[in-house]
């Protein structure tokens, strides 16, 4: 039976069908749904990790125990996990090991753009690059087989449209799940230099074998077609090209490293011109050029942003390969911008309002929903580098400028446990005087509400011990630790202002639940009593998307403000701003 699956659902299905025993991940767009869907298969042991490095290490452990194991992460997650990856790449893999890297070309929801196929070449491990959901599923099986045959980790690399795009997938029956058990093997599992030097040589020999495998595997195949121009494709670029040129001759590369150079040489020799179509870096193209063949690629197709049929059509049109597309003269009307915003009642609203009101001089930021505070109307975040960077950045600014006063580092709970803890250690060991604000909504919200170490339950909704940040910070050596409720504005402001001005390190834990996850917050709501509204604009300053101008005017002709009761989640910030009794509570039943 064929069923409609996203690439991520298909990878989960692949894990199920091809004997995966253990899977772990840290959430990150566009990879998150892989583990969420794996968790639906009770036959696979699955768990979230606090970060990608730990995920990789735990999955390596499972593979060492002779189990097929998989870990999934977004492209930048592999940066975090690069340390174990680079060592494990030279070790002897027992149970099949698949690293899924979900890249995000175009940065729909990422801080940078990187082509993680490069990691495979860097680590000298094979990488598979599926072009749709059906391949995404099947390639999981191929990856496990390659991993066990050649004793190597294998990367399965997707990009946003393969991860999130849906397509038809042929389902199969699951094979048996096996765990052969851990066997001590000093030479292969302990990378002391004396062993690592030998493993280094083994890795080269392995690569030669993989090169031979590449020539014969049906992961790389030719689709015959018409014309004197041949194409070489990798990943999602394949289906985009097929969309534009359904009958072109194509050598489709399912394994972009190591490449089947003989197969490519034969293909290239049969055409007047060969164009490599791939998303992001000239990864396949450069390897072919380095082997002394003449191909084109990034001279025609941009190496940045997400690729799509439109770009390919335009490129081939310019080259005269297909008729140029008639561009519709768009009278493209000016739509007003709609930048992403905080949810109504989001607990981040209250803490950022306090930080702004307390006139924080510099706010270093981090990765999460709260990064939205960097853009208008808040403009309340001055830096954002990577997971956990807020604390280190703040310390560096303090050390360079000589004062930590007025410097706040804002970090979410999931990001704090991901890689903020070591930043806090740095602050303590170097006598920093910054103010660290943990905006704690007790969930990984931006990726859709996955439990983190603060949440109190795991991926299977089984209870665990929620990390108590107050105890953790105190135990680490912070004297000034203050929990606040960001929906209670006056005391929150008082603490924030006092600590920003203080000459010591402090940790403020701003704790209130996310309004969406784990379940939608249901509180009494608020409505505007327009008779009393003076259009003073105070309520609008919390920047809640439920509060907008109404068409009703004051005597002076100013628009009164109104609350959209459908959007309101009843956080009560606006009522604390209003001095004129124009905002009143309304029960959920509307009384």
């Amino acid at each position: 039976m064929k069923t409609l699956l996203s690439g991520n659902e298909a990878i989960a299905r692949g894990a199920y069908e091809y004997g995966c025993v253990f899977a772990t991940a840290y959430p990150g767009t566009p990879s998150t749904e892989i583990l969420e869907n794996i968790a639906k298969y009770k036959e696979i042991k699955s768990q979230w990790a606090p970060n990608e490095k730990v995920a990789m290490e735990v999955a390596i452990g499972a593979a060492m125990a002779g189990a097929r194991s998989l870990c999934a992460m977004k492209h930048v997650g592999v940066n975090v996990a690069a340390d174990p990856l680079m060592s494990f790449a030279f070790m002897e893999v027992k149970g099949g090991f698949v690293l899924v890297s979900a890249d995000d070309p175009g940065m729909h929801s990422s801080q940078n753009e990187q082509d993680n196929r490069n990691y495979a070449k860097f680590a000298k491990i094979p990488v598979l690059d599926p072009s749709d959901s059906d391949e995404a599923k099947r390639f999981v099986g191929e990856a496990f087989k390659i991993s066990e045959t050649f004793h190597t980790p294998v990367m399965l690399r997707t990009t946003t449209r393969t991860s999130h795009g849906k397509g038809l997938v042929e389902l199969g029956e699951p094979i048996e799940r096996k765990v052969s058990g851990f066997e001590k093997n000093f030479e292969k599992l302990v990378v002391l230099p004396m062993n690592a030097r030998k493993l280094r040589v083994c890795a080269e020999e392995r690569l030669r074998k993989l090169e031979t495998f590449a020539e014969n595997t049906n992961l790389n195949f030719e689709e015959p077609g018409e014309g004197r121009i041949g194409f070489i494709t990798s990943g999602i670029a394949h289906v985009h090209l097929k969309e534009v040129l359904p009958n072109a001759p194509i050598l489709k590369i399912g394994m972009p490293y190591p490449l089947p150079l003989n197969k490519i040489r034969d293909f290239v020799s049969r055409f007047d011109r060969v164009i490599v179509v791939e998303e992001l870096d000239p990864f396949v193209e450069e390897q072919i050029l380095a082997a002394g063949m003449k191909v084109e690629g990034k001279n025609l197709i941009p190496g940045i942003w997400e690729l799509n049929p439109e770009i390919i059509r335009e490129t081939l049109g310019k080259e005269g390969i297909i008729p140029a597309k008639e561009r519709k003269q768009t009278t493209k009307a000016d739509a007003i911008p709609r930048p992403p915003v905080f949810c109504p009642g989001c607990p981040h609203l209250g803490i950022f309002h306090a930080l702004k009101k307390a006139k924080a001089k510099i706010i270093t930021g981090d990765i999460g929903c709260y990064t939205l505070a960097a853009i208008p109307p808040f403009n309340a975040m001055d830096t954002c580098v990577c997971m956990g960077a807020s604390i280190g950045n703040a310390i560096g600014i303090e050390k360079a400028t000589g004062s930590g006063k007025g410097i706040a580092a804002v970090i979410g709970d999931s990001t704090f446990t991901h890689s903020g803890l070591t930043g806090l250690v740095d602050a303590i060991m170097n006598n920093s005087h910054i103010t660290i604000v943990i905006s704690d909504n007790s969930i990984t919200a931006m990726t859709g509400g996955q439990p983190d170490p603060r949440t109190g339950w795991d991926i299977h909704h089984e209870e665990n011990t929620p990390m108590d940040f107050e105890i953790v910070a105190r135990a680490m050596g912070v004297d000034h630790v203050y929990p606040v409720d960001p929906t209670d504005m006056a005391p929150t402001f008082e603490v924030v202002k006092r600590e920003l001005e203080a000459d010591h390190l402090s940790v403020i834990i701003s704790q209130a639940p996310c309004v969406l996850y784990p379940k939608k917050v249901k509180r009494d709501k608020f409505f505007t009593f327009l008779d009393n509204c003076t259009a003073c604009t105070m309520c609008s300053r919390i920047n809640c998307q439920a509060i907008t101008r109404s068409s009703e005017l004051t005597e002076k002709g100013r628009n009164k403000w109104q609350i959209n009761v459908d959007l309101c989640t009843g956080c009560g910030l606006c009522i604390q701003m209003c001095k004129f009794d124009a905002i009143r509570p309304i029960s959920r039943k509307g009384e």
Binding site: K166, C369, G448
Partner: protein, 193 residues
């Protein structure tokens, strides 16, 4: 037969993904090849959302090219204007008349124009600007724009009404089935069915 390209647009939280899921499954059960694509992440609520659904004999890319969509369902008025350039000339465009004023307008520097529907009609005279605002009141649930839109879509595709209802019923929570049946009928009614 050429593929049919449908683009759904609106604001995060309006249930666009559910609508695109339901229609994709309807097309699959009608034995079409189907691909669908959208982008997840960043803001959970309140940002711009678009979803591409393509069906036909053989679909390669999950993405619709600009100027190549046959059908647009817009869940919010401004969003129709933002995305209309994705449509072919004379394509089918149905949009909600609901105006979701973004907070960026609160400063007063950006204004959500009163005549957005007219601006849209100037570019797309054939656009159906549907009174979803009242339809939602009549159905008695403010969150069913997505299923109303499925009702609208069902009137222009040759797939039996019962196929739509069957998939929709499986996709919504059991206690919301009745209100969504009403919403679906409302969508059909808005198109004169």
């Amino acid at each position: 037969m050429a593929n049919t390209n449908i683009i759904l647009v609106g604001v995060g939280g309006q249930g666009i993904l559910l609508a695109s899921e339901v229609m994709s499954e309807v097309f699959r059960r009608a034995n079409f090849d189907v691909k669908k694509s959208e982008v997840h992440g960043m803001a959970q609520r309140g940002g711009v959302v678009s979803s591409h659904v393509r069906f036909g004999e053989k679909v390669y890319s999950p993405m619709i090219e600009e100027g190549d969509a046959d059908i647009m369902l817009s869940f919010e008025l401004m969003e129709a204007l933002r995305w209309e350039h994705y449509l072919k000339p004379n394509a089918f465009l149905a949009t909600s008349n609901v105006r979701m004023v973004p907070p960026i307008c609160n400063s007063g520097k950006v204004v959500y124009p009163e005549d957005t529907a007219e601006s849209l009609k100037k570019i797309r005279p054939e656009a159906h600007v549907l009174d979803i605002e009242n339809a939602l009141k009549e159905v008695g649930n403010s969150k069913v724009t997505n299923v109303i839109m499925l009702g609208v879509l069902s009137t222009i595709l040759e797939i039996p009404e019962k196929n739509w209802l069957e998939v929709m019923k499986e996709a919504v929570p059991p206690k919301l089935v009745d209100v969504n049946i009403k919403a679906f009928a409302m969508g059909r009614k808005l198109m004169g069915n």
